[in-house]
């Protein structure tokens, strides 16, 4: 019990472990698993990332205004839902050209609840994919 009393007393005099969170930012570690980023000009449209993604957060759908990438023969457009993504990095490991076409950044996704119906656009993309 004296040990606990001593602990309590020394804690009183030493600085607290907690920080003023919104005022003092949290230290982000190196190699934090964050958002998936996409470099369109390097993509070869193999669709491996779409197949590998466990929650289906990457979708390629047909578009009427395809990019000028010559590899994009089927006129596909890349779509990514950061709120569905689990940041596991399977897509990057599946990608034949990691770090150029697809890579995992250390950025955090934005807060999903800022606006109403954030997933509305995504449902539409999924609908296009399904049809």
């Amino acid at each position: 019990m004296w040990y606990s009393v001593k602990k309590a007393f020394t804690n009183l005099l030493s600085p607290p472990q907690t920080i003023d969170y919104p005022a003092t930012p949290i230290k982000r570690v190196e190699r934090y698993r964050g958002l998936i980023e996409y470099g369109e000009e390097h993509c070869i449209y193999c669709l491996k990332c779409e197949k590998a993604c466990p929650p289906g957060a990457i979708l390629f759908t047909h578009t009427d205004t395809p990019t000028e990438n010559p590899k994009n023969k089927k006129s596909l457009a890349y779509d990514y839902n950061p709120h569905l993504c689990i940041y596991c990095g399977e897509c990057v490991r599946a990608c034949p050209k990691p770090n150029e076409a697809l890579w995992q950044s250390e950025k955090k996704p934005g807060i999903g609840v800022k606006e109403d119906r954030v997933n509305e656009r995504w449902f539409e993309v999924e609908g296009r994919k399904g049809s």
């Binding site: 009393v5 309590a8 607290p16 920080i19």
Partner: protein
């Protein structure tokens, strides 16, 4: 002057509670809430929708607060110490009755435990009053405040008071009556919104009440009163942060066992003029 102090008593209690929350947080390695957090809590409670379980329940809760305030007021005006202790007992009984007036099991267990803690600490409070009487020949608080410091001759009774303080302030190791991990706050569980505020403020008054009892031992010495209050404050918080909660049977055994022995020895000593 006394009237001002009486009116300010709950607010000072709130501030004391705020200080204590910070001290406790620092002892646990946390930063703790702002000093005025108890008052912010109060404003938040005012905003809540009040839910009335039954009128008697709420009435008894308010009575508990008012009676406690009267008890504190009586100490400040300096009346009879024994009378103050009985008024305080009445306040506790209101609390117990309110706990039994609803159907919640937690509330019943809490009231039951509250009653058992009263068994443990009431005799000690009365013996403390008896100690003052034996020493001085009067119960008057006003006269006690004018007399010499009695800590020297009544130090064993002071030790008994130290056992009572954690029970009254609901602190480890003697906080079984409230025990939020077991019975979710006991008698408080059915109060909400503005009605809970009375119970919340009653807690602040308990702080004032016990520390006023501590000051009694300092007599006319202001310096000693300050030293006593701050060291008791520190001690109670250190013990709070170094112990687990003991069960009710242990609580009664410890407080009555140690407390009664100390106070009776002290009374015998005083009676024989030692």
């Amino acid at each position: 002057m006394n009237t001002v102090w009486i009116i300010l008593a709950p607010l000072i209690g709130g501030l004391l509670y705020g200080v204590e929350r910070i001290v406790r947080a620092r002892m646990q390695g946390r930063k703790g809430p702002p000093l005025l957090q108890p008052f912010y809590d109060m404003f938040k409670l005012l905003d809540k929708r009040p839910l009335l379980v039954n009128p008697a329940h709420v009435l008894l809760g308010i009575m508990h607060f008012i009676t406690l305030w009267i008890a504190v007021g009586l100490i400040i005006t300096g009346t009879n110490l024994l009378f103050v202790i009985f008024v305080h007992l009445l306040a506790s009984i209101f609390l117990v009755a309110s706990g039994f007036s609803v159907r919640s099991v937690y509330s019943h267990i809490g009231a039951n435990r509250e009653l058992l803690t009263m068994v443990a600490y009431e005799p000690l409070l009365i013996l403390i009053a008896a100690g003052f009487y034996l020493k001085n020949g009067y119960f008057s608080i006003e006269l006690i405040h004018e007399g010499e410091p009695l800590l020297g001759s009544l130090w064993m009774l002071f030790g008994a008071l130290l056992l009572v303080i954690p029970i009254k302030l609901k602190k480890s190791p003697f906080d079984a009556a409230e025990a939020h991990q077991e019975i979710v706050g006991g008698v408080e569980v059915e109060y909400s919104g503005v009605y809970f505020e009375f119970l919340y403020m009653a807690k602040w008054l308990e702080y004032i009440f016990v520390y006023l009892l501590v000051i009694l031992f300092a007599g006319n010495s202001v310096m000693m009163a300050i030293v006593l209050v701050s060291s008791v404050f520190l001690l109670v918080n250190l013990v709070d942060n170094a112990t687990a909660r003991v069960r009710i049977p242990h609580l009664i055994a410890i407080t009555l066992g140690i407390g009664l022995t100390l106070s009776i020895l002290n009374l015998i000593g005083v009676g024989y003029g030692l």
